[in-house]
Subunit: 204 residues, 2 copies
Amino acid sequence: MGKSKHITWHASEVTKSERQQRNQHKSAVIWFTGLSGSGKSTISVALEKALFAQQVHTYRLDGDNVRHGLNQNLGFSPEDRKENIRRIGEVSKLMADAGLVTVTAFISPYKADRDAVRHLLDEADFIEVYTACSLTECEVRDPKGLYQKVRSGEIAEFTGVNAPYEAPTEPEIILDTETLTVEASVSKILDYLQKHQYINTAQV
Amino acid sequence: MGKSKHITWHASEVTKSERQQRNQHKSAVIWFTGLSGSGKSTISVALEKALFAQQVHTYRLDGDNVRHGLNQNLGFSPEDRKENIRRIGEVSKLMADAGLVTVTAFISPYKADRDAVRHLLDEADFIEVYTACSLTECEVRDPKGLYQKVRSGEIAEFTGVNAPYEAPTEPEIILDTETLTVEASVSKILDYLQKHQYINTAQV
């Protein structure tokens, strides 16, 4: 239980179940993982918009609102990457408890770190979405100009080039972003959420 | 902007304003501060329940879901206390951005740390609630048996006894918990939220 043995608490009188009932959808953490340039950000933005349009209470965690806020004191060492993902996992857990469908868009290169988040969350809350795309294609896209900076030496270490990316072995959803459009990718996720009754099919 | 200069992002296409409109109430962070035993937990639990009953999308952060989760790697040194409050502030900001009324119940003894959270949040999102109660009365109540452990030497440092508590100078709400009941305390906060149009008076 960590360092705080003298912490006790009062249990909340509003339960996760009551929040889900009120919201008319289940909580979930839709966890994107994939190389830089594989489509995580673009698809997650479109997904959040589509979920909101369907009356789902949703929120997206990304580099903007996390790396520059909660995790601004973390760098990119393996240890810091692990702590980065751990904190995002803990925040996702709080948001799931609050009844939200949280969408996260981080490279999250290490399988062990993603699995730790999966086990941290309540069962079935974790939906791993792998944006599968070859390094070659990601480098061609290079939407942020990062691969170019790696090749020119401006960035020393980069996932997929000279730092490991461990692809998920059993993700809930695989999006082949070399062939699927953004719209088709969003549809595939929405279909999954409806089929598994996270969101109310009748509302769609 | 912290350590991550190569982080860029896609802006969310769902705004805080749209979330607030959907929820029919404003976002807010209702930040309790006060000595151990002053009533933070009890009142915050009752407040969350009352807000939920009024169709407000609300969530409570407390020692349970934060100290044992996100902040489990923090202790009670001044530096760790500061980081504890910083992270809670950052999570509150994310939840405010997600459209929630977040209720936090932590001693948060240092004025500078609370003020940092106030300035981190969007203007008017921070509502500081001071549960004012004398140390003598808190020691008599001692709901968690902590003051006894301090007096017996089992706990070395404790806020209000031999570690500082800096009372707020201009909190939005002061609750004199030596005289106010829990119900009256909750009412006072709800009145404030209605008067300042955080929640819709018509819904009450």
